[in-house]
Amino acid sequence: MNPAAHEDETTEETRRGSLGALFVLVIALFGAIGTAFAQGEGASRQSPPVTDTQADAGSDAASTQPPVGPAHTAPATGAPFTSGLAPLPGNARVPLGWLPPGAFEQDTGPSTAVYPPQKLTIRFNHKFHVVTQKLECKSCHPGALTSQSVNDVLTPKPTLCDGCHGTDHTNLNDVQAGDDDSGQCAFCHIGYKAGDGNRVAKFHIPHSNMVFNHQKHAARNINCQQCHGDIHELELATRDQLPRMRGCFGCHQHPDSVSRGDAKSSCDTCHVKGGASEGGLLKTTFASGVLNPPRWMHNAQHAPDFIQRHKYVAANDSQFCANCHKEEYCTGCHDGRVRPRSIHPADYLNMHATEARLATQKCTSCHREQSFCLGCHQRLGVSMSGPTAAREAGRFHPPRQEWSDAPRRPGHHAFEAMRNLNACVSCHIERDCVVCHGGQGIGGGFNPHGGGFSSGCATQLKRNPRPCYVCHEPGAPVLQRCQ
């Protein structure tokens, strides 16, 4: 048997074996990842916390697990209550004009990072109370006029309902129902069952992850509707009626400026500042989500390909980025000492030559070629300018006759240099070029300048003659054309 063929077969067997082992490894890897993610998924579904003050807004603190969202229930008489279970009857879509200012057509709701999901277990008809019963917002939400913090609970205490509904919520461990249907527990409490130990589902509106002072806005005669939309047209008020950031921008405009008057607009005017725990920047990660800029704000949507497009945003307003990112976040890649796998995948050391030639990503975005790239190439002996003991005998480029000898042919280095000069600079020092491109007497006299060069070189010679002198002696006739 041909030894080479035998070697090929052995190699093929080895390769098959490797592929089999590889397949098992991949399966095991994905299995492990899947298990980890499946396990973690449960943890991420934890209910948001309930504080004592929040429990005040609801009913029985010792409630059972509450249902999420509206649910139909029935009073003792058996007639179903249908109003107040959704913003509009039949859960119809709320018209854009009734949503808070800044909401979009086909609105997807406010950010969950800022407003965590709520559990509304109370049936309530705002339209009935405001329009029919002629109540004002402050009748039930008096605290909204004086509140200075999002920690304040602005939903009414249940005792406030007692006056009209005939109930008695004074002692939450012994709530007394009213006489008529409107005083029955099931009239308001969704999911209430008479035989269930007088328990009601917990009502839960988590605090907003932001900074807000109702009092300041009320004092400027900004009414509820200007931020919350037309709640008086709706039955149940949901998260969708919470203010949109775009609506806030009617008065507050980023970046902050004295030209905006009293409505200050630095991000920490409304967003939570993390202090030292966040490096002095905004707090961006919450249990309910991650704070990311909307796409309409500086076109800075952090889509999965943002790593390729963020330059447009950073080049325009880096201070905008600096609200959430510290310098070291940027230096991690742009002055990086550790190769980021999201940019340089796999065995990038062997792949990078191809990518550098393609210039898919501009190496100079993160690397100074005459320092970072050249130093490594010299150490490896790839560069012509490296130390003699390290220099390799092999040739990196195609054969000299094709690559560098005159006359030029397809594949000559001149064309490669023209279309991507940076690739040359990553490995060569100026001496390597001067050997041939230096003027007569210094180099081979092969002119590298482009057309029209001499018409503009006078200014360059005057402002910095140093590069001229590398290839031309100061008195050289050709240099005088630029003087």
Partner: protein
């Protein structure tokens, strides 16, 4: 651990005791978390162990790298931290030690020119940044920065030692001026990352005994810099920044590339321009329609446009955005560099992409792009040196088309799970001189708020048309396991294994330690 409730509020205190962060975070976020005089000490340390091989495999360098940074910051030095109108003063500094214990001592020994790698240092220390910053003084009119700081705008990412003053006027614009010394490699506590490319420059101390040793390696000297910018302020939907920068080279430069004294002049002394550039960028958005971003950087020394970009976004629906991107790039270099005067043709890139967010957790983006490298198609006219090959039509080859096309596509997706994510990206680039195509799938998950799992796997193939012996298909994976010690502090180990026919089996082990102590 060392986390006071004063600084962190309930958040830090709860997380420090290890209670479920999900509940702690939500509660703490409701309260203004920051307090006067927040301070922190942070440190990031990474250790990397891998090998580098030359293309022939003849040279192998062992990398035994240790990179560690130490940061100090004091925030909110004034006592009105919760008032967004109050002036703020902040101090931030970070020092970095970046060592390669795999490097040989001979590579830095000047008495071993056969082994010496100019500019290489086995353990450089640099001050990444260190400045004191004030904002919102005089009712928001005045801001300043003093110390080593970054400037980022359409002229790129840049660093200098000096001062910057920003005046925000009541007329919807701000004026910024700055001046100082550019951060330059070879000077104390500095790196070369932020100086313009095209000059091989560094610390030549010790080379005096033999000036002919690596004459191309230029000595570093201070580089005075000034800059100014005018920027819009107070309007979100429209933002623009006009920026100007000038940097000077000073000191001696080796001009002769061969051996000192053989050519005249051997050196050049004098203050000369390093860079003078003008840039502008603009961003305008109509929230219900779309947005546009555009900008340019013009090199006033070379008298060439270095970069022009424009991006048009169309919000076709609440969840879908279509974009058209354009990018023009022509390399320009430091004023000392000869490469400014080499014929370099621009690249023109055109891209079409779409992003789609089917759910708040899931995002998908993809696009196609085309690049036109341009090349010379006929002899150059008006050349100073008519015998140059560039000016000769005889015996020279010129392509019939000036456009050397390249195509590519990418597709990426990300699914957020709490603080973790599952992502994938695929890339393909095709060009006459080489192709690259590949895909990665990756994820990160934190379990019980402290155990971190990371994984990545992918297949990549690259074809080098100029060197077919460099073609390879690579399969690789990375596995990482970490433990969150306390808020913002993590210890993590990961292991990377790549398999391809060039490298065979390539391994890379990494250890990370991130520590943040806050007061």
């Amino acid at each position: 651990m060392l986390v006071s409730a004063r600084a962190h509020g309930q958040d830090g205190a709860t997380k420090a005791t290890g209670a479920p962060a999900a509940s702690a975070k939500s509660t703490a976020a409701a309260a203004p978390a920051s307090r006067p005089l927040d301070a922190e000490i942070t440190s990031d340390t990474s250790a990397q162990f891998y090998e580098m091989r030359s293309p022939t495999g003849q040279t192998i360098i062992a990398r035994r790298r240790l990179t560690t940074t130490l940061g100090v910051a004091v925030y909110d030095l004034f006592d009105k931290v919760d008032d967004p109108r109050a002036p703020t003063v902040t101090f931030r500094a970070r020092l970095r030690y970046d060592a390669d214990y795999g490097g040989s001592v001979e590579e830095t020994a000047i008495n071993r020119p056969d082994r010496l790698v100019p500019g290489f240092s086995r353990g450089p220390v640099d001050l990444m940044y260190g400045y004191i910053e004030g904002r919102r003084f005089f009712n928001g009119l005045l801001g300043f920065r003093l110390g080593r700081q970054y400037v980022t705008d359409s002229l790129g990412w840049w660093s200098f030692d000096g001062g910057q003053v920003k005046v925000t006027t009541p007329y919807y614009f701000a004026v910024e001026v700055y001046g100082g010394l550019e951060q330059r490699g070879g000077l104390p506590l500095s790196t070369s990352r932020f100086e313009r490319d095209g000059v091989w420059r560094g610390d030549r101390s010790g080379y005096e005994r033999d000036p002919s040793l690596y004459p191309s390696f230029q000595p570093s000297d201070i580089a005075p810099a000034i800059g100014a910018a005018v920027e819009s302020a107070g309007v979100t939907w429209l933002h623009g920044r006009l920026t100007y920068r000038r940097v000077y080279n000073t000191g001696t430069s080796n001009v002769s590339q061969f051996a000192s004294g053989l050519r005249s002049p051997a050196t050049y002394d004098g203050t000369r321009i390093s860079q003078e550039r003008l840039g502008y960028s603009i961003d305008a958005t109509l929230p219900t329609l779309g947005g546009i971003k555009a900008g340019f950087a013009y090199d006033l020394y070379v008298k060439q446009m270095g970069n022009v970009f424009a991006s048009l976004d169309w919000y076709t629906s609440p969840k879908v955005t279509l974009s058209l991107d354009y990018d023009y790039f022509r390399p320009t270099f430091d004023g000392d560099s000869i490469w400014n005067f080499f014929m370099a043709m621009p690249m023109n890139d055109l891209g079409l992409r779409a992003s789609w967010d089917p759910t708040p957790r899931l995002g998908i983006a993809g696009g196609v792009r085309a690049r036109a490298f341009t090349v010379q198609t006929e002899p150059e006219k008006d050349l100073a040196f008519q015998t140059s090959p560039n000016a000769l039509s005889e015996a020279n080859y010129y392509p019939t088309s000036a456009i050397d096309p390249m195509g590519g596509a990418n597709l990426s997706g990300r699914y957020r799970i709490g603080e973790g994510f599952l992502g994938a990206r695929a890339v393909a680039d095709v060009h006459r001189t080489g192709d690259r195509v590949g895909m990665d799938v990756y994820g990160e998950r934190t379990i019980e708020t402290r155990y971190v799992l990371q994984a990545r796997t992918g297949v990549w193939q690259w074809n080098d048309k100029l060197r077919t012996d460099r073609d390879a298909t690579n399969f690789g994976y990375v596995l990482g396991v970490g433990y969150k010690l306390f808020p913002r502090s993590l210890v993590l180990a990961d292991f990377q294994h790549d398999m391809n026919r060039i490298a065979g089996q390539r391994f890379r082990a990494m250890l990370w330690l991130t520590i943040a102590l806050a007061k």
